[in-house]
């Protein structure tokens, strides 16, 4: 019951932060709330026993992502153009949510030790990793040894992303341009004349 209360209140806090982040118009506040979302999500991961994930989420999600977003914001307008609540996306999101809820109702009960996910390869990792790898943290031994090719692929993805960012804004392949002013008005008057 205590687990339920902690979990549910953390998720309620997350929902509050998410709604605020989408409602505010100052982009600086939006980005900071996005960092706060990651931090509370990290706390939620600790409650769900995923300490390594919590660690990474706090460092990467709340740390590096926020730094990247702030660096981007320094080059962009600080305010969002105000929008009213749009009904079609809200309807689509509700519909998708309902479909997901129907799909999720087939999943095993939350925390059930007899669920299929806990009874095939996972026990072998838990029992065998101490003999085979010798590292007490099972997540580390799976990440770095049993599934090290996955981790290698992840490194490749990061490399590709860095390459893409450098090619898009790096300045090696293009001449720098002055940002154009939004020139809708002048265009319109030209058309009229």
């Amino acid at each position: 019951m205590a687990g339920f209360l902690v979990n549910a209140s953390l998720i309620a806090l997350l929902a509050l932060i998410a709604i605020l982040a989408l409602r505010l118009h100052r982009l600086f506040a939006v980005v900071m709330l996005s960092g706060a979302f990651s931090l509370v999500a990290a706390a939620q991961f600790v409650v769900l026993d995923a300490v390594d994930v919590a660690f990474t989420e706090a460092a990467v999600g709340a740390g590096i992502s926020t730094v990247l977003a702030l660096a981007t914001l320094s080059l962009l307008p600080a305010q969002e153009k105000p929008h009213s609540i749009s009904l079609v996306p809200a309807f689509l999101a509700t519909l998708t949510g309902l479909l997901l809820a129907v799909a999720v109702s087939d999943l095993p009960v939350f925390g059930d030790p007899k669920a299929p996910i806990h009874n095939h390869v996972a026990p072998e990792y838990i029992i065998g990793s101490e003999q085979a790898i010798g590292v007490p943290n099972i997540v580390t031994s799976v990440l770095a040894s049993y599934r090290s090719f996955d981790t290698f692929g992840e490194t490749l993805v990061v490399f590709t992303a860095v390459l893409a960012v450098l090619l898009i804004i790096g300045g090696y392949t293009r001449t720098p341009q002055k940002p154009k002013k939004a020139k809708r008005k002048t265009k319109g008057s030209q058309n009229a004349g």
Partner: protein
């Protein structure tokens, strides 16, 4: 007890996570500002991680770090490993997204998608 309510109580975590997911999804499709789209995508993504981590939880279990005591119940380490990889991949795609936004702002002077579409329409009208 009514089986429907029993199931709802057994899977409450998944349903709450779906609500979070849909808030993020709404942000991605409803907001015209590109920074907000990326923030919505981040919320969506973190909620998906939460769904996976919830599946790995075992009742009365503890974090999957060996304690030496054979009676300890561990949560499933496999979703944790998958999500560790996914977090890093997620931040990489976010970085590429921000780079594209900077580039779009240089070319169009705005990061609102309806303004960009209006500018493109104007250029078509002129030519």
């Amino acid at each position: 007890m009514n089986p429907f309510i029993e199931q709802l109580l057994g899977q409450w975590n998944y349903y709450l996570v779906i609500v979070l997911m849909m808030i993020g999804f709404y942000g991605v499709i409803a907001r015209g500002n590109m920074v907000k789209k990326i923030v919505g995508l981040n919320i969506f993504q973190t909620s998906v991680f939460m769904l996976y981590i919830s599946m790995g939880k075992v009742a009365q279990g503890t974090a999957p770090i060996l304690t030496g005591d054979p009676t300890t119940v561990y949560s499933n380490p496999l979703p944790h490993v998958l999500i560790l990889t996914a977090i890093v991949v997620g931040v990489s795609t976010t970085a590429v997204g921000y780079a594209l936004i900077i580039r779009i702002h240089e070319s169009f002077g705005t990061i609102e998608d309806d303004d960009i579409i209006a500018q493109l329409d104007d250029e078509e009208d002129v030519s």
